[in-house]
Subunit: 747 residues, 2 copies
């Protein structure tokens, strides 16, 4: 009903510049729902229910075995997806490591070895001769020429990687760019977007992700959350196609997608619990049924086990950034810098979201829109140049982001060697300056890069920014303590400043939590992911407090996390799970009144008229009335199908036969078709005096597609999911900005 047409338009403009829907490569259209529509959960559940009953009612052993077979197929899909995504994640890790290393040199005895594997045979202290930098390989002697060649190869390969990723995305899988989380949120909420989940997308997203990460762009690491979630969803979608029970039921498919998403996060962070909680909190994926959480739990565990099995890092551990603290306690005065970091995280997080939105708008409305690949190449060149060429002291931005984060999280340990002088107490101010500078550079690049036409995640860049800031604050606190070890503030520390009391590594973890809290506005899942990522279980309380603070501060600036902002800009029909409070409005304010609805008059319309009605209006469904008395609601799909079937049995009488939808029909039996079967069983009626926030909450909790308003049996109006989604996103200033035609094109 209602505004769905504009919605189709929105999608059209979204991803191709010329107003036509892109060809869907390898796309097998869904049986019932076209892309861009919203599924009807109640109806899909009812269909699944009927199928189950049919299976159970089979005679004899079949009636027992068939339902068991169904269940085992479901578990098969879940487990295979878990294993698959674990293996893919591990392979991507290895691929990225190799691609990143090849920018600087190559392994002389086996081209496909990365630096660590290549040098694994050498003893500690011995120089690894198997690994040759490019200048060594070409035998260049002059230092200046060496540097020049190294820089040239580094930047050229970075551009080649990022450029080919962008070309791949543009040519073969237009939906494989960005993070994918906003789309998956919308899909799990019932939005139909099958071209987003094709095998091609899976392939391009995985390869493209490895290429872009290796290019050194500021956008997530080898296995960052969003893209891997997208890959997992593509995979489960591909596997589920083999089974009729999922192919034909969009609701069942979404339950599998939720489990796959959990597995994706689990692999991305090595965080099986975090995966389940991410789905629960951010994707709101388990709202539909409680056993979906259980599936997510299994998928998540299986994925983590297979990742650990392949063991891409050779550490035999799931924890990516293992943190080892000198002692497990923390002091009360440390809450002050931590709360400060929380506030900083909230402010910067909001700022990052705003800047990212502005960049997205700018990109959409300028010439950049027509040259996405060039944009990628340009930004990569700048990033690579800045990373490589500027004074070699600013090394913090040149290494892989994940390596940087791991080092920032690390405690200073004299036995392990110093990471770029971070532990040198005399260079404190220099280190603080460099860290803040690195954070600023990363901040600007991240705001720009997240949204370009390459696969990208937001988690790791955010962690890196936060870790830099946190480490800086930690160094400052440590410096303060070393300068005044006997001050009353530091009473709880040992008076001898050579004994360690403040651990800047943990401040980096806190900074990362604060920044993530500000950008994503997640709470509990963030805390779990962070301590599964670092193993810092003993410090869970400071992390919680810091995430709390940063969410509070961030919410004061703007209410949405970055994913919600992108959903709003793309105008997906997704209902945020937030509490909506109206200002006294009722359902009457929200509903389309009867005179603006396209309704079917019971006993009035002929078969031919109905068919014309279906062609002229592309709404999801139509209310049926008998002299304003509400009879029922028919969906487009069911009505279309019934009418198609009818035509074959009596093609000539279409213009005269009337359609009857109710028991009360007064028409003679010979002159009517009985369409009572097409009336939907599960349709909610409300009175229009219902407060608006209760209407919204029903849509949120029941995942409805429409609600009808009646009084004493008389139809008064209707509200659809899109109306509610529009209402909930109306506070965001740039709603639908990315789904409108760009200014320079519409001119």
């Amino acid at each position: 009903m209602l505004l769905t047409t504009t919605h189709y338009d929105a999608e059209q403009y979204e991803l191709t510049p010329h107003g036509s829907l892109p060809d869907s490569y390898f796309h097998i259209p869904s049986a019932k729902y076209p892309d861009g529509s919203t599924i009807d959960w109640l109806q899909q559940d009812a269909a699944e229910r009927e199928r189950n009953q049919a299976l159970r009612s089979e005679a004899g052993v079949r009636g027992i075995l068939l339902p068991m077979l169904e269940a085992s197929r479901m578990w098969l899909v879940v487990i295979v997806t878990g294993i698959g995504i674990g293996v893919i994640g591990a392979c991507l890790d290895i691929l990225v490591k190799w691609l990143a290393d090849i920018r600087e040199g190559w392994c002389s005895h086996d081209f496909f070895y990365n630096q660590v594997t290549c040098c694994s045979g050498t003893d500690p202290g011995e120089i690894c001769r198997e690994w040759q930098t490019w200048s060594q390989h070409f035998g260049i002697k002059f230092i200046f020429l060496q540097s020049l060649l190294q820089a040239f190869v580094y930047i050229a390969l970075a551009i080649a990687f990022a450029g080919s990723a962008a070309v791949l995305v543009k040519a073969y899988a237009p939906y494989a760019f960005h993070t994918g989380i906003p789309e998956i949120k919308a899909i799990l909420g019932g939005y139909v977007f099958d071209t987003f989940l094709t095998p091609w997308t899976l392939l391009i997203k995985a390869v493209g992700l490895a290429l872009t990460v290796a290019s050194g762009l500021s956008l997530g690491k080898e296995a960052c959350c969003g893209p891997l979630v997208h890959v997992a969803c593509c995979m489960v979608n591909m596997i589920a196609r083999f089974f009729k029970q999922f192919r034909n039921n969009e609701a069942q498919k979404r339950k599998l997608l939720a489990a796959a998403a959990a597995a994706g996060v689990s692999v991305a962070f090595g965080s099986p619990l975090g995966g389940v909680l991410f789905c629960l909190e951010e994707l709101d994926a388990f709202a539909s049924e409680s056993d979906v959480m259980w599936r997510g739990f299994v998928a998540s565990a299986v994925a983590a086990v297979s990742l650990q099995w392949v063991d891409p890092f050779g550490t035999k551990k799931l924890v990516l950034f293992q943190v080892t603290f000198v002692d497990d306690t923390w002091r009360a005065f440390e809450l002050v810098p931590w709360l400060f970091l929380g506030v900083i995280g909230g402010v910067l997080g909001s700022l990052l979201i705003r800047m990212n939105v502005q960049v997205a708008l700018y990109r959409r409305n300028t010439i950049l829109f027509d040259w996405p690949v060039l944009e990628v190449i340009g930004i990569t060149a700048i990033t690579a140049a800045i990373s490589y060429l500027i004074h070699s002291k600013i090394v913090f931005s040149r290494v892989q982001t994940s390596e940087l984060v791991a080092n920032l999280f690390q405690e200073c340990d004299p036995t392990k060697g110093d990471y770029h002088g971070l532990c040198n107490p005399t260079a404190m101010w220099e280190n603080v300056f460099l860290l803040i500078l690195t954070a600023c550079i990363k901040f600007v690049f991240t705001a720009w890069t997240f949204g370009m036409k390459v696969p990208a995640g937001i988690f790791l860049p955010t962690i890196a920014i936060g870790a830099c800031l946190g480490r800086a604050v930690g160094l400052l606190t440590q410096g303060l303590y070393r300068a005044n070890p006997t001050s009353w503030v530091f009473l709880s520390c040992p008076p001898d400043p050579s004994v360690r009391c403040i651990s800047p590594g943990f401040y980096a973890v806190i900074g990362a939590s604060a920044m993530l809290g500000g950008v994503t506005r997640m709470t509990i899942s963030l805390v779990v992911i962070l301590f599964e990522l670092t193993g810092a279980l003993s410090h869970v309380l400071p992390i919680m407090i810091c995430v709390m603070t940063s969410k509070w501060v961030g919410d004061a600036f703007n209410m949405d996390g970055i994913y919600a902002a992108w959903i709003a800009m793309r105008r997906y029909p997704w209902l945020p799970h937030t509490d909506y409070h109206d200002r006294g409005e009722t359902g009457a304010h929200l509903m389309k009144p009867l005179d603006r609805l396209v309704v079917i008059q019971d006993d009035k319309y002929t078969v031919a008229e109905l068919r014309r009605l279906l062609i002229e209006n592309n709404y999801h469904g139509f209310p049926v009335v008998l002299q304003n008395q509400f009879v029922g609601f028919v969906t487009r799909e069911k009505l279309q199908q019934t009418l198609d079937d009818l035509t074959y049995s009596a093609p000539d009488s279409a213009e005269t036969t009337k359609c009857s939808f109710s028991h009360f029909s007064t028409l003679p039996v010979g002159n009517r078709v009985d369409l009572r079967e097409t009336i939907e069983e599960a349709i909610l009626h409300l009175r229009k005096e219902v407060p608006q926030e209760q209407v919204v909450s029903m849509f949120q909790r029941l995942n409805l597609r429409q609600v009808l308003f009646t009084r004493a049996g008389i139809l008064e109006g209707m509200v659809t999911k899109r109306d509610v989604a529009n209402l909930l996103m109306s506070h965001f200033p740039h709603t639908a900005a990315l789904s409108q035609r760009p200014e320079h094109l519409s001119a």
Copy 2:
């Protein structure tokens, strides 16, 4: 409507033997809902909404400040509750430690010191002379007399502790026994049970808990989950009474209760994340609104911080049973014993639930029902005697359960000393035998004790049983490895058996997870609680796998966890969150048809008739019809209030004035009262063809109190929450067993 009368009866029989509701000590009745009814979430939310709008519409600065004041009051309650429950939890820990120690001796220089505090001044190796056993104190020289006196004091004090707890419970707070989780689940779902949350209950439950735990009964430790959750809920209920916004709104109060429950679990296990997840998964407490989870998160964190501040164990750590593994890796072959433990846990968990249910039925239907205090004393005497007197080798059951668990989780470390020979490799078979025997004894006692008239938790005894079994399996696996260190099974272990490969301490953790999974059927929250409890983050995957297995196995035997079983026996109107699948039934099968409903005829009933109707029927509400045409639904409370107000303005005309509920009234204006305002705004209508499982799912997700069935405006029937609860609990064989009159009383 419908069956609520039997429900009131159920409550009556529940807790007093003579069929009358117990006097509610200190009980301030709720404004609207009597105990035993179910709140109407939609209506309560609407009331809150109106109040908020009234506040916001205040002129000028008041319109901004008043809503902020409201919000800050809410956070005040949440934070004060968090701090309070943290401090109470810590105090209980200290009290229990002292009470338990006093059974064996006393501190000569300060009576109120426990053994550890008393001896804290002595050097390691020095004998602590300040702490005197009772036989030392009385200067008894003969060893036989010493033992006799020690045993006598031990058993006598145990009986005194447990007996006084039972007396306190029976006399002052009849609801302070048991765990409280089933009741809190029901309350959070909308059940009204204010006498369960009085300040007296708080006091008695806290003190009684300390007494019972110190008595050595097999029922949870100083801070076990259920009782502390109950204490937290009582506390927030007490604090919230000071603020009108919570006193007058049952829905708002429940949102605070959910946060308090999270804080309770957080303190019980030192597990702030586990608290939030427990509320999410087991209590299903955040279904109502998403920001409730956020409150729970804050309450949980605050409670954990204040617990850590008081630091009752003097360890400066939140982790109760810190586990330190020799190395962080685990081997694939270990999955076999772990899966075995998972299966055992599932089987034994189901068995424990069944036995516990049978004991509860037996207690209810025999003479035991009339002598609860004697039962407690008897069981305490037997427990104490078995713990103390039987061969001193079976020491595993004599120490505090928490101490036992901590030691079982501990790895063998030559530098730390051996705990009762557990690490002696030559005594393997003896240890295995003793561990299994201890598990059996604890199993029987737990099945009996959980449900007696003393505060009790099920978590810690279950952990203890599981830990014993797990450690036994671990010892066996270790023995097997030591016997065949070079077998192909153990290829991944070092070939030298003196190097440690298998850590039986972790097997104890796995055993505990399996047992807990079998008893509670929780999944993700259990995993989080367990690794927050032990710090075993690196081993989260085996714990997950084991909990999965034990839940699968347990579900194959009986579908419900122990809390759901008790809810069913007590017949609370609580809707389990499980997926319900009908067998083709529709709403028509579930609903009470029109002819069995008490309906109000619009324009027909006089004021006096309506008042009589309200007196004769104690249903929650009544549908209003005009010649079978559905007009609306009025709740008992609103109608009663409106009629009461009417009487004062026109007391004489009550017999003649007709009541009109709709716009269509044809009565003359002078001869009718307009009751349109009493019609509920938010009432769901459905068609009776709606599949039953969709009706159930709406009740589950929207927390409805009733749904009406109409067709073309004509009322056809109605379903209430109790109908749905009955339907969902009908598979449990002993539904309502504890809410029926005991056999020996009804005879």
